[in-house]
């Protein structure tokens, strides 16, 4: 299980919880696990999200390995100029 | 509207063209003479990307009519280097990283050369006011000023 921190406006879809536990070994499993456990997150995840893993931001790397003690933060899909 | 036949000199070479009475010198240079060095950033005299010299005077080519240049001498960025050797201003722009995207560069080179031709030793303030009609969105002007001053110094020493 890894603890995933969600940003504030997503918490209405997780019964108000800021952090949820998901069984996942990589980013893809994490996203699938989140959608399965909290279907309200599906539209946002389909539009795109980034993930910060131990402070480093990943945009679409599904197979980035996640360890149980990793710090995982879900972030909006990043855009730049 | 009947086209007008014009004979002129561009960068020392005799050239002829026909143009519409309301056609700008910039359009003539770019579309009829194949000299695309002068750029159109606005078409209204506000950006200086189209700067050329007309009988030695610095003008915005977008504000001059092609029909006005019969018998005139025009200078564009294409004529600044001689025989394949860069002008000190051109070399200084490369050395000082005075261009990023480079779209303003032709106009700024023509304008800066025109200043140094009449004032070989401008102050930074004179230079900044002289170039105030040439917009550069990339550099913040800092390296442009440094490049022109370096070129001016080298030209004085030469």
């Amino acid at each position: 299980m890894v603890a995933v921190t969600l940003w504030g406006s997503l918490r209405v879809f997780t019964n108000g919880r800021a952090s949820v536990e998901i069984e996942a070994r990589n980013f893809k499993e994490l996203l699938d696990g989140l959608v399965a456990a909290y279907p309200g997150l599906r539209p946002q995840i389909e539009r795109g999200v980034s993930m910060a893993l131990n402070g480093r931001i990943y945009k679409e790397a599904w197979f980035t390995e996640i360890r149980p003690d990793s710090e995982v933060v879900l972030m909006p899909y990043m855009q730049g100029g | 509207m009947k086209s007008i036949h014009i004979s002129t000199k561009v960068n020392g070479d005799a050239m002829e063209f026909v143009c519409a009475p309301d056609e700008s010198l910039l359009d003539v240079l770019r579309n009829r003479l194949g000299l695309t060095g002068a750029k159109e950033g606005c078409g209204t005299g506000d950006c200086g990307a189209c700067s050329v010299t007309l009988n030695g005077r610095l003008v915005c080519a977008c504000l001059v009519l092609g029909a006005e240049v019969d018998g005139a001498e025009i200078g564009t960025v294409e004529g600044i280097a001689t025989d394949g050797v860069l002008h000190p201003l051109q070399q200084a722009f490369i050395d000082h990283a005075a261009l990023q995207c480079g779209i303003c560069t032709p106009g700024i080179l023509v304008a800066a050369k025109s200043l140094l031709d009449r004032n070989p030793d401008p102050t930074d303030t004179e230079l900044r006011y002289w170039l105030a009609g040439n917009l550069c969105r990339c550099t913040g002007y800092d390296k442009i000023i440094a490049a022109v001053q370096d070129a001016a110094q080298k030209m004085r020493a030469a």
């Binding site: 406006s9 933060v73 972030m75 100029g81 | 695309t36 913040g140």
Partner: protein, 749 residues
């Protein structure tokens, strides 16, 4: 992960060689978007809505089509229906279907044998509009009774009961605000507004499209990303990616504004219909009305501080409008707002509302400058109220490695404290201030990105190297890429030539955005070089009759690894290349990947201003930029990014704004009335580059292009506020605004 290279001694990286495109650009030879033509080419022009908001009842193109010399007329009907929201918005912005959503929105286009005929044809297109009430102000657009720009566009995160214009809502942060504010000795709460600004690249959008009846097409255009242009155009016209080859011209500035399409699909549609090449070049007026700009914003910030300068809580409410289409830029603002600080309680609430303005395009660090302007202004006011040094106060609260960031993750190595300390030590900070001069400072932050990247490196038989990459070079990136290739291969810089591929010649590359190129393309170049090196070592091993593992690459040559490998003289890249046909064929290195780990960056800007209390005019007297570049590959180009970004920020702070009339039409669509900084407005822009290596890059490189536009807004506002003795709360601080603020203040005292 890859931090072995940090202590290495660089030979090429960190020097300042001339850029490969330099001579082309100083002689007028470089070809930009509008500089090419094709035989038989037509001129394309676009008809635009004169109304801020109107239903398009009908479009009659028959008279235009009948005009001699007109070869094609297109409307929205000539594009493929998109069911994906993202593509539909791009398409709708290129050509309106049911409604014109802003002044300047494209409604039809013609291609004709000359510009004159094209112009005449536009006048013959009869569009029947039914004008609708409009809204251009973000706060008004959020009211429940506001005219609705587009209905049904709200995301699921937006609470029920709000205006249909509200499309996005996001919330970030941690901790308990109430108890944080309870600990404060002083709380300041202020509201701010920022105007929409345009990227202001000097080159208007331009393209040349040629499409055959069989669906095969070529497109030449000025863009920050030819692959993205291909993706979008292929979707909008129903083409296969392989059949559409997009070539990026030299680009005359972008800053984020050339990351999407406006005229390109239109030119392709006109070319398809006419069977001839079609060139479209925007006028400056069109550039202002229908491309760019940034969001416009209205922001409330509340910050609590103890007497000794510790921030106890920070809260921000951000209301952004990205124009007539949904925009998530406010998410970036909400995440960036307090990113510079180590806070126990922090919360940002963001909203995006639709307005009858052009669709926002990215502009350097999109969303961050506005939010950070508001936060840094309030921090400055707290420092004034508590009589605290603004730099020391920021140092006291600065985020560092291990800080839980305001947007969620814990920071890795970051350079904020070092940057603040550099500012504190700099003579500018302690230089005495003349009477009436104000000094302001601001910190700034941006994320930076990596992204999809693909690089090919060919080792030529004469010992030179051709690097092929896929990102248009705006600020000298070809030089930086060549430098990294030279560094890794161990050959001189001038043996390398880097070119930008068209979409048919190299795999996908994300657009030149997010400050990604030197980081991600550089990383791919290093990896491609390593790939080529491995192949060259294998060739040398073959020649020597030893194992490939027994060969290593030192200073541009293969050498036996250790005494056991045998005694052979080093074999240089040129020597290996010369016999490559005999040893197994041409040698090339490749690398394709999705780069992550770009590393966030911080900047601190310091400025002195004098304000004329009679006219309200501000003169910037001195300006210094401090920024962490990780590793400056070409320091002159890094300085150039810092200076250019700072000056764009100065323009935003002092003059630039989209001004809409009561009729909802843009009143200043030209450089005369939309005034960007000119040379005589500015002092020299000093730069101090810090190098705190990014652990995610073998040379330590961080993106540098975007952060510099973030701090100027508050740095200028804080300086002006201190100079005039009135807290400025609205950008730009144009002379009339400053005068009004001063007069309102004087009337009170």
């Amino acid at each position: 992960m890859m931090d072995t290279g940090h202590k290495r001694i660089f030979k090429v990286v960190g020097t300042r060689p001339p850029r490969p495109d330099g001579i082309d650009k100083v002689t007028g030879r470089a070809q930009y978007g509008a500089d090419v033509s094709a035989p038989g080419m037509l001129t394309g022009r676009i008809l635009r809505s004169p109304h801020a908001h109107a239903e398009i009842v009908s479009i009659d193109t028959s008279a235009a089509e009948a005009l001699p010399g007109v070869k094609a007329v297109v409307t929205s009907k000539d594009f493929v229906f998109q069911d994906d929201d993202f593509f539909r918005d791009v398409q709708e912005n290129c050509m309106a279907t049911a409604k014109a959503l802003y002044d300047g929105h494209a409604v039809a286009a013609v291609a004709a044998v000359s510009p004159e005929v094209a112009k005449a044809a536009l006048k013959l297109i009869k569009v029947t509009y039914k004008q609708l009430p409009h809204v251009t102000d973000v706060d008004l657009a959020m009211r429940p009774d506001a005219p609705v720009v587009q209905d049904g566009r709200s995301l699921e995160t937006v609470p029920a009961g709000m205006s249909a214009n509200v499309t996005h809502h996001s919330e970030f942060g941690h901790g308990d605000l109430a108890s944080g504010f309870a600990k404060a000795d002083v709380i300041v709460e202020r509201s701010f507004t920022t105007a929409a600004t345009h990227q202001g690249y000097i080159e208007p959008h331009a393209c040349l499209a040629a499409m055959n009846a069989d669906g095969r097409a070529d497109l030449w255009c000025c863009t920050q990303g030819q692959y993205n242009v291909r993706t979008l155009c292929a979707a909008l016209l129903g083409l296969e990616a392989s059949q559409l080859r997009v070539t990026a011209s030299e680009i005359g500035g972008g800053f984020g504004g050339k990351t999407t399409v406006f005229i390109e699909p239109v030119a392709l549609a006109l070319s398809r219909k006419s069977g001839k090449p079609v060139k479209i070049v925007m006028t400056r007026d069109e550039v202002f009305k229908a491309t760019g700009p940034t969001v416009t914003s209205s922001i409330d910030v509340k910050i609590g501080m103890t007497r000794d300068g510790r921030i106890t809580a920070g809260e921000a409410h951000l209301r952004y409008s990205g124009g007539a289409f949904p925009s998530g830029t406010v998410d970036m603002g909400g995440q960036a707002a307090f990113a510079a600080y180590d806070l126990a309680a922090v919360r940002t609430f963001g909203w995006n509302a639709l307005t009858n303005r052009p669709k926002e395009a990215a502009y350097r660090a999109p969303g961050a400058p506005q939010a950070i302007y508001a936060v840094e202004s309030v921090i400055d006011e707290l420092c004034q109220n508590l009589n605290l040094d603004p730099l020391d106060t920021r140092l006291k609260n600065a985020a560092k490695k291990g800080t839980l960031s305001s947007y969620g993750p814990t920071f890795d190595d970051i350079g904020l404290i070092a940057t603040l300390e550099a500012a504190k030590k700099h003579p500018h900070y302690t230089a005495p201030l003349a009477a009436g001069v104000g000094r302001g400072l601001s910190a700034g932050f941006w994320f930076n990105f990596g992204g999809n990247t693909c690089v090919t490196m060919n080792i030529n038989t004469d010992g030179t190297v051709s690097v092929t990459e896929g990102n248009p070079d705006i600020g000298g990136s070809r030089a930086s890429i060549s430098m990294m290739a030279a560094e890794e291969l161990g050959v001189p810089y001038d043996k390398i030539r880097t070119i930008i591929a068209d979409t048919a010649s190299l795999g996908h590359n994300d657009v030149t955005d997010g400050s990604r190129v030197t980081f991600a393309v550089g990383l791919a170049t290093i990896k491609a070089a390593q790939d080529a090196i491995a192949k060259m070592c294998a060739r040398a091993a073959k020649l020597w009759g030893i194992d490939a593992e027994a060969v290593e690459w030192v200073d541009g040559a293969a050498v036996p690894a250790g005494p056991n490998a045998g005694k052979f003289p080093p074999m240089s890249l040129a020597e290996i290349a010369a016999v490559s046909f005999q040893t197994g064929g041409p040698i090339a290195g490749h690398h394709e990947f999705h780069a992550d780990g770009a590393g966030v960056s911080f900047g601190v800007h310091l400025c002195d201003v004098a304000v004329d209390r009679e006219t309200g005019a501000t003169k910037v007297l001195r300006y210094t930029v401090f920024q962490d570049a990780g590793r400056a590959v070409h320091p002159a180009y890094v300085e150039g990014q810092m200076q250019g970004g700072a000056v764009q920020g100065i323009g935003w702070a002092l003059n630039e704004e989209y001004i809409y009339g009561a009729d909802g039409r843009l009143q200043n669509a030209g450089f005369l009335d939309y005034r960007v900084p000119v040379a005589s407005d500015l002092p020299p822009i000093d730069t101090v580059i810090l190098e705190i290596p990014n652990p995610g890059h073998p040379y330590g490189v961080r993106g540098v292009g975007e952060t510099p536009i973030v701090p100027p807004l508050a740095a200028l506002s804080n300086a002006v506020s201190r100079a005039v003795g009135v807290r400025m709360q609205s950008l730009p601080m144009s002379p009339p605004r400053i005068l009004a603020a001063v007069m309102a203040h004087d009337a009170k005292v």
